[in-house]
Symmetry: C2
Subunit: 226 residues, 2 copies
DNA sequence: GCAAAAGTGTTTAAGATACACCCATGT
DNA sequence: ACATGGGTGTATCTTAAACACTTTTGC
């Protein structure tokens, strides 16, 4: 890192906030009030303040826009094409967050205003800046992580049934999974613990499970080489 | 992304440049001439210029410091702790590069000066700033990628023997691999093509192989869930 | 002819996949 | 009693892992 003065590049964070609502994977979008791209939808974001770390900035934006705290948040990628903002050079560090719907304030779950809303993550409206690229990348990363880690629990409430968990996976991966294989695999992975409670709405009550926090299941990707 | 002016955060790129020399995984380090950390070793880096993308900045640093072009380069992570540079707020986008030794100019392969050198990646000297964290993270990512992609070829010359390839993997992963299993797996993956040439130095000549560029082998990680 | 690295198959174990019926409850 | 989602086991196939000897060349 040579010595020189910086060249006045602005630095922001943008946060792709995912949740499950109505059996669909949703992403939180904010309508832009100012040019450029006024009236278009965009990812929540903000400038990094001088005294906060990048993750602190992302958590701040996450809280300001969704009200959620203590949720899963991961740095995604840094986007820095010189023309990505027509006004000035802006480099953005993108994060993605997974929030279970029950941790969202009610007015965020179903926003009344037309200035903010949960959009189907796979069918977003046209987005400002390069936010469509950022969202596409976040979706790819989410699918990828889902396949080899236990991160899917972050989108469910504290306790959940196995069917709810499976449905969450199916929703995000957009494919059907076999019930018996799913249950066997998720149970033998040792990342869940039974509770004594059952969820009884409608028909046969289903056992509720809880994610075991101590289980670090980064799992075992299949090696390409021996 | 709300409207506001940026707060004068400097933006740099740092590049972790790996190569294989003397059957060891090496990383290129530069000795710092100025405070802070004058005299200590650091990763090559530089400020992002107003008109260049992040990757262009990384390739520029890569070329300036190693002379290498057209090599594997991937964005690693963005480090932005407020105190990581004692002078001012500096956020750095870290990249890592894989360079085969034969693509390095001779004076870079064996630098005469004491201002620059190839250090064992797993036993680096004390590093300036948070560069030890960056290097550790790059090593982790390299090992990880090696296990499920074909990226290891990037560290070898245009053609190579299977033993050379296996040795490269063993060097980076720091574990022994079974010769028969390794060969079967790498050959059945369809990412290599035979050449008609043999490498004959010493004993029985070994067939030379070439990486098939068209083979996109991001491979098939084993799913945690069905 | 011998030292040194190249090259080659098989057996066993583990894990993935495909598949169909009974159970407990609310109405 | 029936409709609905909850819950369970097995057989087969694919893939990973362990393992030792023959071949070809240079000296």
């Amino acid at each position: 890192m040579p010595e020189a003065f910086d060249q006045h590049i602005a630095l922001t964070v943008d946060v792709v906030i995912f949740t499950l609502l109505d059996d669909e994977l949703k992403v939180l979008l904010i309508r832009r009030r100012h040019e450029p791209f006024a009236g278009m939808w965009a990812l929540p974001g903000g400038f990094v303040q001088p005294d906060e770390s990048l993750e602190e900035a992302a958590r701040r934006v996450l809280y300001e826009e969704s009200g959620a705290t203590d949720v899963y948040l991961e740095q995604l990628y840094t986007f820095g094409h010189p023309e990505r903002d027509p006004r000035q050079r802006v480099v953005t560090v993108a994060y993605f967050a997974l929030v279970s719907a029950d941790r969202l304030p009610l007015d965020v779950q179903s926003p009344r205003s037309t200035e903010r809303g949960w959009w189907p993550a796979y069918e977003p409206p046209p987005l400002a800046f390069d936010h469509a690229d950022i969202l596409a990348y976040a979706l790819q990363r989410l699918r990828y992580k889902l396949e080899y880690t236990a991160v899917g629990f972050q989108l469910l409430p504290e306790t959940f049934t196995l069917t709810e968990l499976q449905t969450a996976y199916e929703t995000i991966l957009r494919e059907q999974l076999d019930k018996r294989n799913f249950r066997r695999k998720v149970l033998s992975a040792g990342i869940l613990e039974e509770t004594d409670e059952f969820k009884s709405g409608g028909h046969r009550p289903a056992r509720l499970y809880r994610f075991r926090r101590e289980a670090t299941v980064e799992s075992t990707a299949r090696r390409l080489f021996p």
